[in-house]
Amino acid sequence: MRRVWQRLARDRLAAASALVLAAVAAVALLAPALAAFLGVDPNAVDLLERLAPPSGRHWLGTDEIGRDVLLRLVLGGQVSLFVGLAAALAAAVIGTAVGLLAGYRGGRLDDLLMRLTDGVIALPLLPLLIVMAALDLSKLGLPPETAGSPAASLWRIVAIIALVGWTTVARLVRGATLSVRTQDFVAAAVGQGTPPWRVMLVHILPNVASPIVVATTLSVGNVILLESVLSFLGLGIQPPVPSWGNMLTNAQELVTTAPLLAVWPGLLIFATVIACNLLGDALQDALDPTAKG
């Protein structure tokens, strides 16, 4: 484990990525304090101050209906990070369960689960996400006030992305489980009469952890990207709750009058996603037992 940290710390790109992510997370956590300090309400509309330039009160100016851009960016970061982490973790849990079961049990169950995985991978991802994001939840039996609430739009995004995002982890975990299963300590545990669920969770899971960590780090970036796309299209996080994606929804029309409004949210998505991807890539190298150093 210490070697992993050493390798990571020597990778300057990975260190920079970790710093970027830490900074975004810290600022997002401090959002309420920042709002109090600046004395602005992120949802307060001020039609007399539309598209205002940066000032002492609005550090990054205001948007097309006079809301503070900086504060909405910070709050949008909260939403994006939450969705990214929650959906990536949920997908990792589903994928790990599927992969462990398939790899450890083998046989018909393995065939079934892997065909299911292949099937999900074969789906046209983006159109399907759009359909699921556009569903009318009240037709599923949810009361209309719950179905239309901001919390519902948040959890819906997490759920649908997790629902299609577990396949990579499932495949990696299954592969790793297949090789760990044949080792002596597993045979010893089974021989002592350890129940299968315990063998899977206590003896196999810790040994297949590194591919899970790498795949999950990479998928946080991917999830943030998908969330931003859906929110941009008006199907994800619903205004007035800000997200980096939905802040760009009107940007295409405003691109001639206020180009900076289109630049900031995209730049933050880009920086966060590339940091996740670079960190995941560095983790992969650092955790690779065959690599040198």
């Binding site: 074969a122 983006l126 159109p127 180009p259």
Partner: protein, 321 residues
Amino acid sequence: MIRFLAARAGQSLAVLLVMSFAIYGLIGLMPGDPVDLMISADPRMTPADAARLKALYGLDRPLAARYWAWLQAALKGEFGYSRLFAKPALAALGPAIVSTAVLVGTSFALALAVALPAGVWIARRPGGRADRAVNLLCFAGISVPPFWLAILLILLFAVTWGVLPAGGVPAGPGAGIADYARHMALPVLTLVLLQAGGYLRFMRAAMIEALRQDYVRTAEAKGLGPGRVLLRHALPNALIPVVTVVALGFGGLFSGALITETMFAWPGMGKLIFDSIMGNDFNLALAALLFATLLTLLGNLLADLAYAWLDPRIVFRELRP
């Protein structure tokens, strides 16, 4: 070989069938239904009229029965009428498929033409300065939000410099090839920037792996020049996984260009899928989504075939179908 193909094709058909049911069910959960749309278009309709219409169109029947009726019609090639285009769904789908094929085909070819040679070249010195710079660029391409990239390109090329149109396709019979190409430039550039990084990284990884093999050392020991070792000995083997990945991705490209097509108003499959879903055009959305699924499945089948065909170590009998 034939048995393997038949088994895989059968499996793909099964997935397609399951998906058709899933998509049919999901579309039914979209806000509004055709009769609601008629009500909103005609204020004189009473609830009794609506109920009668629902019965007439079979909308009051259970999901399974409605799906069965749709499937029987679909198998005869009848996908119903498109609300948005006011013509049969398949007739609306046709031109969109052609538009997407032109756009996606061009950008796919360009992305590969950039990524594959660059990937081979950069693999010679992994960890070097050029490698690290290119790696960062690749990650930038993978990590950029597609719609934002499109906005930035529009901002630069169409607004600031005013050299290229911001979107659409040339209308009218007078539009020539050059005009068409000008309209295609920005969406193609977007797609190339988005795709090339991923392909480059695959090519690089496969090439590094191939260069580690014993036969490469043997070739070097024989005194072959570096170019010959790279191109004749390492490259063919490195291409096997790359071809597979590329084939896997190709099917998804048709719907994957959804954002780019929507941003640049390019009348292809992706924009059609988005517009039909958002415009409550259920018949068209179903047909288009199924077609997109079919293409992805075909891409997967192609990837399997390419893999087995290119790698002589794989015998079809050993492949689990």
